[in-house]
């Protein structure tokens, strides 16, 4: 007797699951979209047209969807930057700064090693980005491991130190001699630019991000380190008494997390901007924090949240063009979506930041 359900039933069940999921999505986020519509109305704009514009420019067209993917790449990486440390209860709000330092290191590499062939230069830049962000975060990790400063505070404060540092370099040592007084680095050579797919702006960073997510999930569930991390995250006292080296894990985990953000910085500066500017990141680090938090650090959830927030972020640019609204108006919608999630969360004891 066959016990497995027939394909039709399985499909129906899957469909039901998706329908329920979709319904949950609508119930949860619906109010946020409604409130935003009201905001737009009060501002004298047509909300239906606004939403239609966003939809057609993001999901309804191939190019639009590719743009969403483009925005997703740094978001996935910065979300990982928060999720990985969150497995052992570390709160990394420094994704922004780590991204910038990663971009800085990568920029240095791109400018000094510009003569190398592409197949050699790009991996080096990737490594530099990882190292830059990683070291920046590891600094906070060490401060925390020594018991001196909470990593929440130090990563938060180091964000601004990083941005100022990048400003310093871009106004000074790395300043592009050919750009008059614009604060930016020189343009990257083609060899330092990440390849893209199918004529869109979607670049190789997507592969890196997805790979990183997969590795993250596998390491956590299958490996010894994942087990020990989950032990630390579950009961740090018990982990300590089992001989697990907590301090070592703190530093390493922050390093890897920061490296993810650094990688995001490298991909942004290499594939999207082509040079280092102070305006490199419109808050990807913070958005990544929110994505990781919304998803509870779970990979699939992070992808879903990243899609949503990428669409909203892209929406901001679109509304700026079509409705002549300030670009940051999308932040309102993002905040409303977040409020919806925050207000509904049944706070189970011990909810993580990621």
């Amino acid at each position: 007797m066959q016990r497995a359900a027939s394909p039709g039933v399985s499909l129906l069940r899957a469909g039901q699951g998706t329908a329920v999921g979709l319904l949950r999505f609508v119930v949860l986020f619906g109010p946020a979209f409604v409130v935003f519509a009201v905001v737009l109305l009060v501002a004298g704009k047509n909300p239906m047209k606004a939403y239609a514009d966003i939809f057609s420019a993001t999901l309804a067209s191939g190019y639009g969807f590719s743009e969403v993917l483009v925005k997703m790449i740094p978001l996935l990486l910065t979300a990982l930057a928060v999720a990985i440390p969150s497995r052992i209860w570390l709160i990394n709000v420094g994704g922004e700064g780590q991204l910038y330092i990663g971009a800085l290191f990568a920029t240095w590499g791109a400018l000094t090693l510009a003569d190398l062939p592409r197949w050699a230069l790009l991996p080096i830049l990737g490594a530099l980005g990882f190292v830059g962000g990683g070291l920046w975060a590891a600094l906070s990790g060490v401060l925390r491991a020594r018991g001196w400063v909470s990593e929440t505070i130090s990563t938060l404060l180091f964000n601004y130190v990083a941005i100022l540092l990048v400003n310093f370099f871009v106004f000074g040592p790395l300043k592009d001699p050919e750009s008059a007084n614009y604060p930016q680095s020189a343009q990257f050579v083609p060899a330092a630019t990440l390849p893209t797919f199918f004529g869109t702006r979607v670049h190789f960073g997507l592969v890196l991000a997805v790979l990183a997510l997969v590795i993250y999930a596998l390491v956590l569930s299958r490996t010894r380190w994942g087990l020990e991390m989950r032990a630390i995250g579950g009961n740090v006292e018990a982990a300590r008494r089992s001989g697990i080296p907590i301090g070592w894990y703190i530093v390493v985990v922050m390093l890897v997390g920061g490296g993810m953000a650094g990688l995001a910085g490298m991909t942004e500066v290499s594939a999207i901007q082509g040079r280092l500017r102070p305006s490199l990141s419109p808050g990807y680090g913070f958005t990544g924090f929110l994505i990781s938090w919304m998803a509870g650090g779970r990979p699939l959830g992070m992808v879903a949240a990243a899609v949503l927030l990428a669409i909203i972020t892209a929406g901001g640019d679109i509304l700026q063009m079509t409705q002549r609204l300030p670009g940051s108006v999308a932040s309102i919608l993002m905040a409303l979506v977040l409020f919806a999630v925050l207000a509904r969360r049944d706070r189970a004891r011990g909810e993580r930041a990621g």
Binding site: R222, L227, G234, N235, E237, A238, R241, G243
Partner: protein
């Protein structure tokens, strides 16, 4: 001394309270009179704490009624209780370490003016402390006080808040014998002035020493209420447990050969305590193979630090530590465990088990290097399973289901998980903290048998316990820890529990008593 008044100050009738899966109070009746000390006696989990938390408004009863001085009372929160002049001192003090004694007390004063008058508050505190023997410095920061002094602050809080009914939950758990004496003296003073004092305990001798009336609870119900004159030790015990427990067996063993190389050797070990934690001073301790060394002492005198030092969790600021013949002073926890040390902590859920992981995964944590394969990229779960099954069989303990999430297990099951995990590695040295605390009689006996069996196989055991009876029954040698120092070393046959008790509190009469 004024005799207890006839009509009760507090009347509780038919109180029923349940939590998911547990019926904590089952139609409980209780009367407490003014000017009396009323003991609420019972084993762990009998429902005493719950009942009092209902009276204090921390919980709301599912059904039943409460009357205060004859009038019905609806107590929905601690605020209501305090307005009815009921006060409670919890096991975990509700003091704020970062604030002063005066500020902590002020917080609980009923008619605190909007602008604080610190001088007046201090004066009031002095007056009440003198009257009842609760002396503390109002301007001291609570975090700098000893536990006994903190408890005094808790009682002062109640008195200054005008409470007439005082509830104390296991007040003597953290006190040394002479501090317990002082507390009972405070009770006497309070009784003299018409206060109703309810104290929750599971210690028989305390009840017999100071209570006017005793209510015994068992499994959520009242077993009996008696006056002090009607109570006997045996009678109370059978009320508490329902049966007469077997006589505790005294295990006697031959002293271990003094020529064998010690498993553990601490020489002049000192540590630097952090904040309020005690530090160890000049500890000299050795454990020979096939020997159980018991550590007696009131909780908080350095027991945890001693365990942490041996485990490698805490650094010796001075002195040396030798394990199995090697200098292990700088070894990491992982290395010390790998060399053959097992550690059974005092609170398995908080200190040894990761609640979110399954039993199987928790077992693997005992020795992750052993089960890691491919440099850590995968785990050999099959080996974990076999090892665990074998150990469970060898030490005759029931294994909880491997795929159960550890956080859902009962206390007894958790203890078993920890013991099986630790014993799986055939340790040569076992540190056991209060291993039978909170366990039912059967599990406690099984655990003691386990330690004895380990000793029989040549392992060494460092047994830290609050239960003097248990220590005297199991130890080959007994060491007393007081304020981070070893106050005495004996063979149980050569001393008395009383003498050890004196040493536990640093009494100057100790030398006279130990003989």
């Amino acid at each position: 001394m004024r005799p207890p008044q006839p009509e009760p100050m507090v009347t509780m009738r038919g109180i029923t309270k349940s939590f998911p899966g547990v019926l904590a109070n089952d139609h409980v009746d209780l009367d407490v009179r003014g000017g009396e000390v009323h003991a609420l006696l019972g084993e762990n989990g009998a429902g005493k704490s719950t009942l009092m938390k209902v009276l204090y408004g921390f919980y709301r009863a599912d059904s039943g009624e409460i009357r205060l001085r004859g009038h019905p009372a609806h107590i929905r929160s601690p605020r209501d209780a305090r307005e009815l002049r009921i006060g409670m001192v919890f096991q975990n003090f509700t003091l704020i370490p970062g604030m002063t004694v005066a500020e902590n007390i002020a917080l609980f004063l009923p008619h605190l003016p909007a602008l604080l008058d610190k001088g007046e508050i201090a004066a009031r505190i002095q007056e009440v402390s003198r009257r009842y023997g609760l002396n503390v410095d109002p301007s001291a920061e609570v975090r700098q006080l000893s536990i006994g002094e903190q408890q005094k602050v808790e009682v002062l809080k109640l008195l200054l808040a005008d409470a007439q009914v005082l509830i104390l939950d296991e007040p003597t758990r953290v006190l040394a014998p002479h501090e317990i004496e002082a507390l009972f003296q405070v009770f006497t003073n309070l009784r003299r002035d018409g206060y109703a004092v309810i104290f929750i305990t599971h210690k028989l001798h305390e009840v017999l020493a100071c209570a006017d009336r005793i209510t015994v609870m068992r499994r959520g119900r009242v077993a009996a209420t008696l006056a002090r004159g009607e109570a006997t030790e045996g009678g109370l015990v059978s009320l508490m447990f329902g049966t007469v427990p077997a006589e505790p067996r005294f295990y006697r063993s031959a002293p271990a050969g003094e020529t064998a190389a010690p498993l553990l050797e601490l020489r002049q070990v000192s540590t630097r305590g952090e904040g309020a934690s005690p530090s160890l001073h000049g500890i000299d301790l050795a454990i020979l193979p096939g020997e159980i060394v018991g550590v007696a002492g009131v909780s908080g005198n350095g027991q945890r630090e001693l365990g942490d030092v041996v485990l490698g969790l805490e650094r010796c600021s001075r002195g040396t530590k030798r394990l199995f013949g090697h200098d292990a002073t700088r070894w990491s926890v992982a290395r010390i465990r790998a060399s053959g040390l097992a550690y059974i902590p005092e609170d398995p859920l908080a200190m040894a088990v990761v609640p979110a992981l399954t039993v199987r995964e928790n077992m693997a944590l005992g020795d992750t290097p052993k089960y890691a394969r491919h440099g850590g990229f995968s785990m050999d779960w099959a080996s974990v399973r076999t090892d665990i099954a074998r150990t469970a069989e060898r030490i005759a303990l029931n294994l909880p289901p491997l795929e159960a999430v550890a956080g859902t297990l009962s206390g007894g099951n958790l203890q078993r998980v920890v013991i099986i995990r630790e014993m799986a590695r055939r340790p040569r040295l076992i540190i056991a903290f209060y291993p039978t605390r909170g366990l039912d009689v059967l599990s406690a006996t099984a655990t003691r048998e386990l330690l004895l069996a380990a000793r029989g196989e040549g392992a060494g055991v460092l047994l830290i316990s609050e239960d003097l009876g248990e220590l005297f029954a199991l130890s080959d040698r007994l060491v007393v820890l007081y304020r981070g120092r070893i106050a005495g070393t004996f063979r149980p046959q050569q001393t008395t529990m009383n003498a050890v008790g004196f040493l536990m509190t640093g009494s100057p009469d100790a030398h006279a008593a130990s003989g």
